[in-house]
């Protein structure tokens, strides 16, 4: 391999890597997600840390729903961000705690 072709390879590969690194720095965050009831059953665990590029809690639910086949539509689920009820449009920040709340049945 010549020096020139080696540089060419680097040039070809690097834009993708840089773009990914940039994306990761700007959009990716690690959040904690806790699951209860039916969602816990369908996910198979009670809590996990997730690295995600989802901007909002709704995007995160849709991402996880696709991944784990949650049967509940987001319209029948509520969401809590850092132990307080939140709108689906709330944006996610690093280290947030997210809990998706299936239809409740207390009492």
């Amino acid at each position: 391999m010549t020096i020139a072709s080696a540089y060419a390879r680097i040039r070809l590969k690097s834009p993708g890597k840089e773009a990914l690194a940039h994306l990761s720095a700007s959009n990716s965050k690690t959040v904690r997600v806790d699951y209860f009831a039916l969602l816990k059953e369908q996910r198979g665990l009670a809590s996990e840390k997730i690295q995600t590029e989802s901007a909002t809690v709704l995007e995160l639910y849709e991402e996880l729903q696709k991944q784990y086949g949650f049967s509940l539509k987001h319209s029948s689920v509520a969401v809590a961000l850092n132990d307080e009820f939140a709108d689906w449009s709330k944006t996610l920040s690093e280290s947030d705690k997210v809990v998706f709340i299936p239809p409740v049945a207390g009492g």
């Binding site: 806790d34 209860f36 009831a37 039916l38 816990k40 059953e41 049967s71 509940l72 319209s75 029948s76 689920v77 509520a78 809590a80 132990d83 307080e84 009820f85 809990v99 709340i101 299936p102 239809p103 409740v104 049945a105 207390g106 009492g107």
Partner: protein
């Protein structure tokens, strides 16, 4: 003013201790609601039941409901909701309210239990005689689809809150009311 306390318990609820908590010399009326695990739900025989709570938020929301019940001019109120496995006949939830006169205590007690059922993040999973299980109101279980058939439930149980559709409850409702002395 009055003392209000919502809590979650994974052990048997001590009713006498709770009653002491809402007792006050200013009160002439005391109303309690107890929710019990009923042996059937929507035509199916229930053999066991489990409650699960998102405790951090459940306690906050429960406490907010008790605060809202101040609008009825009550003196003290408390509510305890069970978590964990329960048997048929066991106490799942209790609401106790004291007020100067009985009317406020009755109204506030009903308000509190209705709001708790709609808003507090607590779930129940029923196990049936045929071995299947289902998360109530989640429209899904192991092959279960819920359709509401119980005619005894009041309409308020159908209300929506926080985007949830709330359809079913499964206890017998026992409301006990006592008036103390001639004041109420």
């Amino acid at each position: 003013m009055g003392e209000l306390k919502f809590s979650i318990s994974n052990t048997t609820i001590d009713l006498d201790a709770l009653k002491c908590r809402v007792s006050t010399p200013e009160a002439g009326g005391f109303v309690a609601f107890e929710g019990w695990v009923r042996e059937n739900n929507e035509g199916k025989e229930v053999t066991a039941l489990e409650y699960e709570a998102y405790e951090e938020l459940a306690v906050k929301e429960g406490q907010r409901i008790l605060e809202e019940a101040r609008q009825f001019d009550i003196l003290k109120a408390c509510c305890v909701h069970r978590t964990g496995p329960l048997k048929v006949g066991e106490l799942a939830v209790v609401v106790m309210v004291s007020s100067a006169h009985r009317k406020e205590a009755f109204v506030a007690c009903e308000f509190i239990i209705n709001e708790i059922k709609k808003r507090v993040p607590i779930w129940k999973r029923e196990t049936y005689a045929d071995g299947t299980t289902s998360w109530v109101n989640c429209g899904h279980g192991q092959g279960q689809t819920h359709t509401r058939k119980d005619k005894h439930e009041p309409e308020s149980e159908h209300e929506q809150c926080n985007g949830h559709v709330h359809q079913a409850e499964k206890h017998s409702d026992l409301t006990t009311a006592k008036s103390k002395g001639a004041k109420s």
